[in-house]
C-alpha cells in the first residue's frame, strides 16, 4: 500500500458504518455525548441540516434550529465518538446544497417542504 491508500486504511478504523443517508434539508435528531464530572449522558439536538461539508473522516453537517426564539447552529463531525447516533425524522425537499437563506427567514418561512420518495 502507498500514500493515500495507507491513509485511508488508518481512517477506516474510525469511520462509522452505521450512519444513515443524510441529505441537506432533512430534519435530524443528533445524540451528543456529554460528560458531567464522572457521569456521561446523551443529549439530543434536533434541527434542519442546512449544509454538509467534506468527506471521509472529516465529514460534517451543520444543523440549525430555533431555540427560545434565537437561531442556533451546530456543526457535527459525523464520525466523532462524541456523536452517539443520528436519526432522520423528516426528509426535506430543497433545491440548494447549502440552505444559508434560512438564516434570513423567521417563523413560517423557515419551513422546508417534506418529500416522501426517500425512506427515513
Amino acid at each position: 500500500m502507498k500514500g493515500q491508500a495507507l491513509i485511508r486504511s488508518i481512517e477506516a478504523e474510525q469511520i462509522k458504518s452505521d450512519l444513515p443517508d443524510i441529505y441537506v434539508g432533512d430534519t435530524v435528531r443528533v445524540g451528543v455525548r456529554i460528560r458531567e464530572g464522572e457521569k456521561e449522558r446523551v443529549q439530543p439536538y434536533e434541527g434542519t441540516v442546512i449544509a454538509m461539508r467534506n468527506g471521509g473522516i472529516n465529514e460534517t453537517i451543520t444543523v440549525r434550529k430555533i431555540f427560545q426564539g434565537v437561531g442556533v447552529e451546530r456543526v457535527f463531525l459525523l464520525h466523532s465518538p462524541l456523536v452517539e447516533g443520528i436519526k432522520i425524522i423528516r426528509r426535506g425537499k430543497v433545491r440548494r446544497a447549502k440552505l444559508y437563506y434560512l438564516r434570513d427567514r423567521v417563523g413560517k418561512a423557515t419551513r422546508v417542504k417534506q418529500r416522501f420518495d426517500r425512506s427515513l
Partner: protein
Amino acid sequence: MSIGILGTKVGMTQIFDDAGKAVPVTVIQAGPCKVTQVKTKDTDGYEAIQIGYGETREKLLTKPQKGHLAKSGAGSLRHLKEYRVDSAGEYELGQELKADLFEAGQIIDVSGRTIGRGFAGNQKRHNFRRGPMTHGSKNHRAPGSTGAGTTPGRIYPGKRMAGRLGNDKVTLRKLTVVKVDAEQNLLLVKGSVPGKPGALLSIAPTNKVGNK
C-alpha cells in the same frame, strides 16, 4: 544522544483521541532502516551509528557506495545518515531498525526539507507589506528602498531581497507520537512536518537542551 530513524512523509489526516477530540496527525513511513556502519571511540574517535534507508536499484549506486554497503550486507540503499549514540557497541552491522523504536506519547524531533518555492519576492519571502494596488500607484509588490544614497553608496550586507525560498533543512522539535503501527512501520505524529508527501525525514527522540 540516542538513535533515530529515517522515513518518508505519507500525508496528513486526523484521528480521534480517548476524549473524542479530533487530533491532526501526519503519517510517516518510518524505516525499515539497516545499520550500515558502527563507529566506536577506538576506530573513529567518537561513538555513532550510520543507518541506511530506501531500497534502490543497484545500478544507481557508485562503486565506492556499493563497497561500503557490501560490508554490512544491507543491500542497495539510497540514503545514509549518522546518529551519535552513547555506546555504539550495542548495535551490530546489518541490524534492522523499525518504527517500534518509538512508543505512543513519546516526544520527538523531526527534520526534513521544506517545500521549495523557487525565486520568491519580498512579500512571500520576508513578509514585507505591499504598496497600494490602486489610486494611481505603480508600487504593488516592489521591495521599496534598499538604503541611503551616495553615502554609503552601497547596499549593506544582509539586506533582505528577493531570492530562493524553501528547500531548507528544518527541524521541528517536541512533536508528540500519537500512535505506532509496528507491523506496517508507521508513525502517527501530532501536527505537521516539513515537505510534501514522499519527502525524506529524520525522526529522533527529542534533544534536551540545558539542565534537564
